[in-house]
Symmetry: C2
Subunit: 164 residues, 2 copies
């Protein structure tokens, strides 16, 4: 069988089937699987949208947050996950996640993404993780919103304080 | 010097100094350092207290959450971290963590903590991580609040949905 595996892989590639069919944003940034295992940077709440959110970071991101490194080093990747909310059925005083809304990524590569502050942006929406944006220009919308925090290398979120 | 180390350790123990001076609850549960590196189970929001929170879990907890294992296996440990909130100074539509309020732990050991549903409880308050409770009986307060979710092995929080 082993000799046929490359042939099979070639055939699958020819018909557009790739491993796992990873959703990919119009600017080429693919969904980063496994982000839910990253470390917590901070939670947040958006009363206007009624979302609870968490911002997670890969090890480079967490290291830079702890050290206060700005600009963030290449490889820094942040994931912001949003859920709609519900009151806990047994304790309605608490507001908890209900449905998954989206996950958004910021990927630092100062050269590659020089036009948008050194950050690549991507958003994947709904349970089907549909890539957001009609073309690669969608990132101007992301970038525009982040300009007010230019002096923090375009990042809104800080590390939530944890006494150690 | 090496031969004096055990003697020094013995002397330190005799005067009540332990490595790192780890805060310890009146029921003997010590602060678990490094919990901030655990994985996210869910964020939450408490409008009554104006807190944003995250519930983190060790690997046993995350595995049991994903598999739906109930009761949770011994060794399951959950950490709930709470912060007061503030509006983001550059984007006041978003509510983010301000000051650390407390961290609470639930530690599963069905035999050791049989009197409180198999869970040991502990809370450490404020930047100084002051152990909560005047004596070991403080856990009745924790346990009492968790009885309404007895059918979920006394755990309120579920794994926030992440499409994979």
């Amino acid at each position: 069988m082993r000799r046929f595996v490359p042939l099979l892989a070639g055939l699958l590639a020819a018909v557009g089937v790739t491993a796992g069919d990873t959703p990919t944003a119009p600017n080429g940034i693919a969904l980063i699987r496994g982000y839910e295992d990253w470390k917590i940077i901070a939670p947040s709440y958006r009363p206007d949208k009624d979302h609870v959110r968490v911002i997670l970071g890969n090890d480079t991101a967490v290291g830079a947050m702890k050290a206060g490194t700005r600009p963030f080093p290449d490889g820094t990747t942040l994931a912001k996950v949003a859920w709609t909310t519900r009151k806990h059925p047994k304790f309605p005083t608490a507001v908890e996640p209900d449905k998954f809304v989206q996950v958004e990524f910021m990927v630092k590569d100062a050269k590659k993404y020089a036009a948008t502050g050194g950050w690549g942006f991507a958003r994947f929406v709904g349970p089907e993780l549909k890539p957001y944006g009609q073309g690669p220009g969608f990132v101007q919308e992301c970038y525009g919103c982040h300009v007010p925090v230019m002096d923090n290398d375009f990042v809104f979120t800080g590390l939530a304080p944890i006494p150690r």
